[in-house]
């Protein structure tokens, strides 16, 4: 621990924090999977409405994706902008 300065420690912890932040991707993954599964079931039940179902599914998935993207942004800020390194 001798040669480690405070700034180095903050950078290392920022990297760990960035790794933890992208765990947020689990939620949207599950959510999008559920949406796609239900859309597949809906197409199976009513193949005529395939276009409408697909566009609705894509819209819902894109909205569900937002929280995961917030996690990605936090990771990016921690890694590249490094707001905590004074």
């Amino acid at each position: 621990m001798e040669g480690i300065s405070g700034a180095d420690l903050i950078k290392a912890c920022s990297a760990i924090g960035a790794g933890l932040a992208v765990i947020a991707g689990i939620g949207p993954g599950v959510g999008q999977g559920i949406a796609a599964g239900h859309a597949a079931a809906a197409v199976g039940r009513n193949p005529g409405a395939k276009g409408d179902i697909t566009s609705t599914m894509l819209l819902g998935q894109a909205v569900a994706e937002t929280t995961g993207l917030y996690g990605l942004l936090v990771a990016m800020l921690l890694l590249f902008v490094q707001p905590l390194v004074g």
């Binding site: 894509l58 994706e65 937002t66 990605l72 942004l73």
Partner: protein, 239 residues
């Protein structure tokens, strides 16, 4: 450490400053985003001039280019009409414009540019325009009384939550587009940077996903959400 967000850096996907000048004592940087934005604008303007000429000299049996232009206009018309109904003629111009702009911006990564939409300074104004459209149409079609009634939806003391919900719309819209395009740009830069020895040919598959597929989906989603919000703001005002 740089104070401006993502303005400069060593990695390939960062926004780089090209040159700076002094404007009223303030240092202003011209960055790669500005230049890529200009290139995208020139492409769109060139396409528009060519399309204008093709439609002015339209023939009974359409040629290739006239066919493409008619297809694009028809598709955009259908998209706006299917989700806005009666209000479609008022908004089809604006929605078509941002659709083409965002689409060409997103897929410009395919041609070696840094996509302009991977800069929060480009997507946030788009979100602000949507916010202004929602606000303006709400006041215009639901009047002040309807606006206040919508604000105090379940109970009057719920108003702060509704205000936060309204303000979150442009932020989430712009962040969604920005983060999606940025993630694609970062992934491609990592592939080219880390695997530069063996990155021949096969990254094309990744380009198809990150630039074409993701870009097209996000364009569609941005326009679709804008239309949904605006149609919601108009409500039954056009009947």
């Amino acid at each position: 450490m740089n104070s401006v967000i993502l303005l400069s850096g060593d990695l390939g996907f960062m926004i780089k400053g090209v040159f700076s000048y002094n404007l009223f004592g303030q240092e202003v940087w011209i960055t790669t985003s500005h230049i890529c934005l200009l290139i995208v604008m020139l492409i769109i303007i060139g396409f528009c001039i060519a399309a204008n000429r093709a439609i002015k000299h339209a023939t009974e049996v359409p040629g290739t280019f006239q066919n493409i232009v008619e297809m694009v206009v028809d598709m955009l018309d259908g998209m706006v009409t299917s989700s806005m109904g009666k209000a479609a003629p008022k908004f089809v111009n604006y929605i078509s414009t941002i659709f083409i702009f965002i689409l060409i911006s997103n897929i410009s990564g395919l041609f070696g540019l840094r996509p302009p939409t991977a800069d929060y300074g480009v997507t946030f104004p788009l979100g602000i325009i949507t916010f202004c459209l929602i606000f303006f149409n709400k006041i215009k079609y639901q009047k002040i009384s309807g606006f206040i009634k919508g604000l105090c939806d379940p109970w009057p003391f719920w108003a702060p939550i509704n205000v936060i919900g309204d303000v979150a719309v442009p932020i989430s819209l712009s962040l969604r587009l920005f983060a999606n395009v940025l993630s694609g740009t970062v992934m491609m830069a990592l592939v080219y940077g880390l695997l530069s020895k063996i990155a021949y040919g096969w990254p094309a598959i990744l380009h198809v996903y990150f630039d074409l597929f993701s870009g097209a989906i996000q364009t569609y989603v941005f326009c679709m959400l804008t239309m949904t919000y605006v149609a919601d703001a108009i409500g039954d005002g056009l009947d």
